[in-house]
């Protein structure tokens, strides 16, 4: 790319923890601003632009009006990158889709006022369920180095690469003791790597917050979990914590 690409950041329903990872780049923020021209980033600066080379989208789509907004952004952007698991799959917000009904959900949260129009919501969607997404950066939250590697790749005209192998690889590289050996149930064998196996390395089982690899072997996982007395429903529940939609056959 000749001149610096014009970059914008947008957020939808999410905790904004992923854009926080960008603030957490510290000195690298300065490097980033040398590489790209940030023209719109509501949390950080006042300003906007008509068109973008790259739009980074954080958050899930949960309302009609969000859908219109994201479509408009898509039209004005050359590349659109979904960053963070909310944008990638709906993330944790997708949990509400698993409940009996959305009215029930609204009632539980807003009580008698649940029907007020501005509280309207529909089943949570990942961004690519609404518009075309060029690249995904998974994770809850994203890994800031992975974010940088994607930005660099795009700036160089390279296809960004996100691992298609499980968290186990990174866990073994860090020479962790396998959590299964400590009697914990870990989704590492299915989960998409890229986080450096940060949870198992801190003694906590992986919840697959980055989604799964392209072809997760769910049946094999099922067999393992059965050994730990998990029922099919519990397994499903476990795997969908971060909005992954597994088909556990059985």
């Amino acid at each position: 790319m000749g001149s610096k690409p014009k970059v914008a950041f947008f957020d939808f329903a999410c905790c904004e923890g992923c854009q926080l990872q960008i603030a957490n780049l510290e000195e690298d923020v300065i490097g980033l601003t040398n590489l790209v021209d940030v023209v719109e980033f509501r949390e950080v600066l006042t300003g906007s632009a008509p068109e973008y080379d790259i739009a980074f989208i954080e958050g899930s789509i949960t309302r009609k009006e969000d859908e219109e907004r994201i479509k408009d952004i898509r039209e004005r952007s050359k590349l659109l990158v979904a960053f963070g698991q909310c944008a990638v799959s709906g993330g944790i917000n997708r949990l509400k889709n698993n409940r009996e009904s959305l009215d029930q959900v609204k009632k539980e949260v807003y009580g008698d006022s649940y029907n007020m129009p501005h509280l309207d919501t529909y089943p949570t969607k990942g961004v690519d369920e609404v518009v075309k997404v060029d690249f995904h950066i998974p994770g809850c939250p994203i890994d800031k180095n992975e974010f940088l590697s994607v930005v660099k790749a795009i700036a160089l005209g390279k296809t960004p690469s996100i691992p298609n192998y499980p968290v186990c690889i990174e866990c073994k590289l860090r020479e962790n003791e396998c959590l299964f050996d400590l009697n914990e149930v870990c989704l590492g064998p299915l989960a998409r790597a890229g986080c450096g196996a940060v949870c198992p390395s801190n003694g906590v089982p992986c919840d697959a917050c980055r989604g799964t690899v392209d072809n997760p072997n769910q049946n094999a996982m099922h067999e393992i979990l059965e050994k730990y007395n998990y029922t099919v429903d519990e397994i499903k529940r476990k795997i969908n914590l971060f909005g992954v939609k597994p088909e556990v056959k059985k």
């Binding site: 790749a153 160089l156 005209g157 390279k158 296809t159």
Partner: protein
Amino acid sequence: MCEDCTCGEEIQKNSIYLPEVAELVSKKKMTDVDSFFEFDLKGHSLGHLPGQFAEISIPGIGEAPISISSPPSDDNKFEMVIRNIGSVTNAIHSLNVGDKIGIRGPFGTSFPMNNLRGKNLLFVTGGIGLVPARSAILYALQNRADYKDITILFGCKEPGQRLFTDEIEEWKNRNDITFLETVDTCNGNKWDGNIGVITTLLPKLENVDPLETYAIVVGPPIMYKYVIMGLHDMDFSDKKIIVSLERRMKCGVGKCGHCQMDNIYVCQDGAVFYYDDIKHLKEAL
């Protein structure tokens, strides 16, 4: 040069991963996705044999194995045809004449042109498979007297994907060789030639003497099985079939493991093989 250690200049001298520099001297679009590139290695010739490949480097992007499409020559130039399919190939496509690339090689085995002397040659090429085969075709044409009948079959998906169209025109017009081509479908384009997969050309060949002919087969993975079946129908023995295989490759020097099929490293033991030598390998074709 070595960071905080003692091996100093040695690593610079001996690293098998260090590319040399070549300059892009000409460039020509061939199809929507394929372009022709001519490089100059300055200072010395690449010293390759027909059918070999080299690793092309773009600093910052990566490295990709690419076949050398020109026949061996004494000058410092060599030619490639590259399909824009990903990061490195895209970066090569955006180079301008005068730009430099990194190159390692040549690597791999070559078409056994010496052993083929005095024989008939039957080239069966599919799509981008014509690119490596061309180095042998041009070599044979340069040394036309050394070989008996030369037949070239070329097939591609649709007319828009034909490569080396000028040369093909020339080959068609030569009366010392036979050239036949086909497309899988004309896809709405003007095309009055053959339509059908490459194997449909085989029955059109007359008087092929399987004992005196070597078949050189290069094309996409799926092509081999059917072409070899066709050649068997023509009574070709496996010793007379030569193939060039593609595999994922990273190092080009038999270390990284990506191109391994059974106990063979395609980058070193191939990519050119006698079919007879690899047919027992379950993963070969």
